[in-house]
Subunit: 426 residues, 2 copies
Amino acid sequence: MRHKVLILGGGFAGLSAARALKKADADITLVDRRNFHLFQPLLYQVATGTLSPSDIAGPLRSIFSKQRNVRVLLGEARDIDAAKRVVTLADGTALEYDTLIVAAGSTTTYFGHDDWAPHAPCLKSMEDAVEMRHRIYFAFEKAELEGAEGQSPWLTFVIVGAGATGVELAGALSEIARKTLKDDFRSIHPEQSQLLIVDQAPRLLPAFSEHLAMKAEKQLLELGVRVRCGLRVTCIDSDGVKLERPDGTSFEIPSKTVLWAGGVAIPGIVKDLVHAADAPADRRGLVKVQPDLTVPNHPEIFVVGDIAFVEQEDGRGLPGVAQVAMQQGKYAGQTILRRLKAQGPLPPFQYSDRGDLAVIGRAAAVAKVFGHELWGFPAWFVWAFIHILYLIEFQSRIIVMIRWAFQYVTFSRGARLITGADHEKN
Amino acid sequence: MRHKVLILGGGFAGLSAARALKKADADITLVDRRNFHLFQPLLYQVATGTLSPSDIAGPLRSIFSKQRNVRVLLGEARDIDAAKRVVTLADGTALEYDTLIVAAGSTTTYFGHDDWAPHAPCLKSMEDAVEMRHRIYFAFEKAELEGAEGQSPWLTFVIVGAGATGVELAGALSEIARKTLKDDFRSIHPEQSQLLIVDQAPRLLPAFSEHLAMKAEKQLLELGVRVRCGLRVTCIDSDGVKLERPDGTSFEIPSKTVLWAGGVAIPGIVKDLVHAADAPADRRGLVKVQPDLTVPNHPEIFVVGDIAFVEQEDGRGLPGVAQVAMQQGKYAGQTILRRLKAQGPLPPFQYSDRGDLAVIGRAAAVAKVFGHELWGFPAWFVWAFIHILYLIEFQSRIIVMIRWAFQYVTFSRGARLITGADHEKN
């Protein structure tokens, strides 16, 4: 009987774990709700019409078609029985395991205001991105149809969240409004659109230094994006956003397009795991793992990626980014490999931070790379190079390069389709 | 007051009409339900995961951004008042016209069996293609999850319709099952899938000669596709298809994936037009137009494309293909241009048939080109060349060429995503 490894999730962490087990004498089952690996760092480019969904999605089966010890299953984990070592899928399929790697990824939270969701789409899945693309381009169409009085809320875009995703969305929106759509309308002037980033945090890009955050804000201002930090969102509905200042006074921004770029939550299956394996969790629900990324008293259960809390020297966890997920997945895979070969354990997991990047627009970005701070064109160049490099499939790399080159020269956005059955979203 | 031209539909006919009016001293309004022009001849490649939606969609606004006399509106025509010369959109917007070009395109009919639609998706819109792609790839996933007993209906694909679309879908499905997915599963053998084309028509590809149809059937057989003509579909439900032989006996094909590739119908707005303008229609509902493509007694209303019936010498109409639509749209535009310049009318519309093509698989197709019959590689080469050439956008041409080249070499299908909220379709 070969050792059975079950991996929940085909994101960066799950993929890296399965790949690290390439030479393992084990039966690996990788379960995902989708049949593709999503290259999430470029999801905002699908949402803004630069890239097509398939450009940033690699079919999981084709990624593993040559790795014969991996079996891919389309399904959603519903229940974990840590005592019996069985995971049950939504369709009732029961999967036994000897080692479990939970790499389920995070979801979006509206902080208890789920009623905001219909009015402020988020950006987590491919469906989210296509929906967001629909909203953005439909808003301009709707403004063109409206008379002069009704245009303003359709041409006001509010992004909630001043992290990397918010900044990236805002930069892309600015280019859409000022360049891509410049000559496309007859009644409206897309370049007069209002673009805002709002957040309760005291400043832009908390993951970066204050110096880089200021550089980013300056680049955003040049693109016509206003940043309003220290404001609490109290309501989002079909008319716009209500915001509260620190002094308790409120005001409204009438907007038909509010985009949600903040709020990370833990999916139900992870909460279930925490309960089933009696694992400790932090206040957000992240699983507090051991130094070897396993759950206390369950050396056979690894938790990796966005949902794992690995306490650092400063008491904080690691950021929920691809780089961390890939390193953790690889670590889990390598640990299992060593166990199968009866080799001693690896030293505790140590994150090797190669840097952090946030792109703002063409030739505009902020980056810290191996301890160096970059901005403007150099940061943008590093960003583009790394993202092309990390795309899973060779074909995607070429197609993404071509699309970026075209857009760089012509400002065009070939993937700006408004699709989906329901046209009138607002 | 400039002459107002209103074009309903941004397909091949509407696009050609607007382009022919490039130098017209007129205000042209083009209304479409979608914000993009769809290159329908390659829609089956989206449905089978070769191309991405944006590869075959050109945003209407960017197509006309430089043609300043064209205004694009996103909307759906709901009512035509031929006496007052006003078209009303679904959102209530009233558009006056001096000349109207109805280029609304055809829709799909299930011949009175609308209850078949949920079990047999068609291939008319981008949403249809994405839905069909979902069904096809999901079927293999489901087969992998099922035990040996339950696999067979998930690996049986029935295509209803033996025209070009049916043949193209069948050829692509064969390559998916035999090549693309060959190494991707661990429990099933996709290459053992059953592929069938069924139709009530007496033979494959009625638009082609018997000789070419035989060539096509031979090429399909080599790909493992069986063609069953002369069979009437009596029922399609979640278990499969019921078919009736000419002798009245029936049989069933258990299948979870039935694809509808036949049945052209007329959209409601065209029926409304026929009624409002007191226009004659053939038994299918197509508008019987004058030799100059206008409606009798309404020289200001042109009907072009799939919905127009232009009687030929043999009493039959013209096929509902892109070539006919483009020539008719151009003719309508040129006629308006001459009227605006007070020049005499053009000679009656004459279709110049440059040929017909149906692709079957790699290096396999049938074609009649300028009276010559081709098959195999030469036909396929002509097909690929013409389709690349007619793609609207330069960027799309390059990306489609790259995708085809990759697929030709590796059999990969990068766009085989299963997306959409509803996973369990059957």
